[in-house]
Amino acid sequence: MQPIIKVEKVSYYYDSFPSLDHISFSVEKGDFLGIIGPNGAGKTTLFQCMLGIVKNFSGEISLFGTDIRQNRKVLQRIGYVPQKKSVEQTFPATVSEIVSLGVIGRDIKRESIESAIEFVELGAYRNKRIGELSEGQQQRVIIAKALVKQPELLILDEPTTGIDSAAQDKFYDLLTRLNKDRGITIVWSSHDMNAVEKLASKVACIDRKLFFHGESEDFFGNEERMRSYVEFAMQSHMNLHFGKSKNLHDNTEKKNDAHVV
């Protein structure tokens, strides 16, 4: 069966520093993929390439069998939840108005908006301004906005950073329901290794290069592999700071090949 996402040898340089270096992996229908990596590992850049926001990368990315740089219509099948950003309290859009922005260019039924709002359990807040909600609730509004167009794939970029743990648990429960009950394929980046271990069926570890991609238990159940990933990430950052990124990539090339599934 054709993978939903296929990333092939993707590299992207930012001011001569490699943000992504020969990343390759694929995502199958129904996967719940957790992408982990430290700050600056290139997770957001990878998503921006996957979504066609950044276009000048080398390599190829196809979504639903279509090159993202050739056909942007495929984005209609994808819901995107970006890194949490603070919404000003005075921003004059209600929860309903924000959710309705999930569908652009065609009519949207009132029931679809209501159903998405109810699914994220914010029915009581539908007429409140989004800026008046807590940060956890605001992220659920963005999920509802992504759901209203009934996506087949949901991409979430560190959606719970800075959100309190109770709100995080509620958010994770929501993701699990979307994956299991609605069959939505989820690709989700996070710093929270515990949450990824608990929720994700597959894991990809990146730090500009791909260190591992495979079943969650193959990573979290293998202590040596986890320890080696931490060392890889630490060395990668130290080398980058001391301007030795090229050596790092040469040294880690074989390592990557060995672990990529």
Binding site: G52, I53, E97, I98, I104
Partner: protein, 277 residues
Amino acid sequence: MLFDLFQYGFMQRSLLSAIAIAVICSIVGLFLVLKRHSLFGDALAHVAFGGISLGLFTGIYPLWTAYIVAILSAVGVNKLRESTKIPADSSIAVLLTSGLAIGVILISISGGFTLNLFSFLFGNILLVSVEDVIIILITDAIVIPVIYVFYKKLVLIIFDENQAKVSGLNVSWINTLFIILASITIIASIRLVGVLLISSLIVVPNITALMFGKGFKKTMFISCAISVFSVVFGIIVSYYSNLAPSGTIVLTMVSIFLVTIIAKNMKIRLNKITVTK
């Protein structure tokens, strides 16, 4: 007695123009305020000043030259900001000062314009001609339908540009379209309050409306209502008290803004007292 003034042709023209301008300035202004481009109106008006000076210098109808110069400058500065990542407020400052500089040079070359230029600087809605009214109504007929069609796209871009891109929107193209709409709105509005007070029409009704705590569409409606009331009330006061209409219009808007702040603070205090009890 009070309504006698509505019998005069010049007053009918001025009220019709003022209401039309008030509505589009509020609508366009809400997007500008939320984009943190509040001073964009001021900058464009100063560029328009350069365009007006050019028109007066060359003998072409000044509003036409103002339209051309302002649209070209606004689109150019927007492209410059996108390609060089210059902060929005800095690019607005470049726009503002260069427009003013061009105007000053043209005035000095021609030995100074007098009455016409003064009316463009401070506005005088009571002097609008039939030609002005037609231009203003055409501007409304362009701006309102285009904003209506692009409403959701514009709101999404203001809320989060990256999400808008992922929704498949051509954000750069829509931003350019909006800049053109803002430019023609501001040039059409110069007749009402002039170059120097144009920002008030863009900013004051909208920051007042934002304090009401309503959704996007309701905020837009409240802003339009405040703006329309202010221009009508300001013109009536100016007529009976023989004051400059631009001044009375702006002071009416600012008064509503201050009253809203006071009322909101009182409401918060009353709520606190109620909770304490």
